[in-house]
């Protein structure tokens, strides 16, 4: 009988402790999980609001800027446009271009591909120097790698080695909730620089229908 009394007195306390342990733990876990989801959604909302404002602000300028950037650093091998550009510049500067050759292999460093073009120039010293300065201010980006210049009574000649660059376009967009930032000062300076580049005769990239080709699957969204 005494045990029954002890049991009847302690049982409610034991039940309360069990209820606290089981349901308390479960309830707090659910609430904690919900709070974390709310916190994450709040962050997403802030990021999305900022992103939306940013996209609305920059939408007016970004199209032309991305075209300049894609023209300065195209997504495909730039040997042919670079060769055409060198020929155009030679004619424009009154220098005689000969032995224009390109290396067969392209090198790739951190996603940046380059190929070397070698050629000879003949003309006056000032014409050749003017030509070389122009090369670095034209799209697609080309860097003068080596210059061998010689002068004689007949005139000046130079053997030039130029590197021209391209890089594959990005294939994916970041997650929709990932915020995007405006261009930094350094990026804006670079954009100003490439915007001043002389553009090739035709920077328009024809669409499949304009080119007469068939469109299969989704178009590359990064085509400018």
């Amino acid at each position: 009988m005494i045990y029954k009394r002890i049991l009847s007195s302690t049982l409610p306390l034991i039940i309360v402790i069990i209820l606290f342990l089981v349901f308390g733990n479960y309830g707090i876990g659910r609430v904690r999980n919900l709070r974390s989801q709310i916190s994450q959604t709040r962050q997403d909302k802030t990021a999305l609001t900022e992103k939306l404002n940013m996209l609305r602000t920059i939408s007016t300028t970004v199209e032309s800027s991305s075209q300049f950037a894609a023209s300065a650093l195209p997504g495909e091998n730039t040997v042919l446009p670079a060769r055409a550009r060198i020929k155009e510049l030679a004619v424009a500067n009154g220098v005689v271009l000969s032995n224009l050759k390109s290396d067969l292999g392209a090198s790739d460093v951190s996603g940046l591909s380059s190929v070397r073009l070698n050629f000879d120039l003949a003309g006056t010293r000032s014409e050749i120097i003017a030509f070389l300065k122009l090369i670095e201010n034209t799209a697609p980006i080309s860097l003068v790698d080596k210059i061998t210049f010689s002068e004689s009574v007949e005139g000046s000649s130079a053997t030039i080695s130029v590197k021209t660059f391209w890089a594959a376009f990005p294939q994916t967009l970041p997650a929709v909730t990932k915020s995007i930032t405006d261009l930094t000062v350094e990026e804006k300076n670079t954009l100003d620089k490439i915007s001043a580049f002389a553009q090739p005769a035709s920077t328009e990239i024809p669409t499949d229908s304009e080119a007469g080709g068939e469109s299969i699957g989704r178009q590359n969204p990064f085509l400018p």
């Binding site: 009988m1 005494i2 007195s9 302690t10 049982l11 409610p12 306390l13 034991i14 039940i15 309360v16 402790i17 209820l19 606290f20 349901f23 309830g27 659910r30 609430v31 919900l34 989801q37 709310i38 959604t41 999305l48 992103k51 939306l52 920059i58 939408s59 970004v62 800027s65 991305s66 950037a69 894609a70 650093l73 940046l112 380059s114 120097i129 300065k133 980006i141 860097l143 003068v144 790698d145 080596k146 210059i147 061998t148 210049f149 010689s150 002068e151 660059f165 890089a167 990005p170 967009l173 929709v176 909730t177 995007i180 261009l183 990026e187 670079t190 620089k193 969204p221 990064f222 400018p224």
Partner: protein, 176 residues
Amino acid sequence: MATKINLLPPGFGVTGNLGKILKAVRMVGVIGLAFFLVFGLGISIYFIVSTITFNALKSETNSLKEQVKTLQTTEQQIVLLKDRIGKINMALGLPEAIKNLIAIEPFISNLSSSASLNQLEIDAQKIDLSFQFRSTADTSAFIKSLSDMKDFRSVVLTSFGYDSTNGYTVGISITK
């Protein structure tokens, strides 16, 4: 006067301290149960309010996502632009010969009319030049202009020759 009587058989009653303890334990159990009910009610209300808040936020976020998707073309262009600019900076940071050409250009432009530039070899690291001078005065002026150059880290005289037909031949190697 009320009289206390015990109807339990002897040995079945709980007396003394144990009785007080059991009574206290029962009381704690009841209070605990009350606390549990209050706690359960509180947590349920909090859960419901949080769920409503979460659903409202989720709905706003979904709406924002849809709005962002309508500007996907702009997003693609900014992603492309940032990617291009990053790689353009990488390319523009590579060593190149044109900087050395720009640095040496004023120097070779100011050569006297009797001096001539035979050969000029420029790469990203150094500039190799070869000149022809008719007179010692031109040679001296050239050597003086070398010492006046502040833009270059080192200037090394690589060759110096003379013949009676062509005059002085001077070869130098310059590092910027």
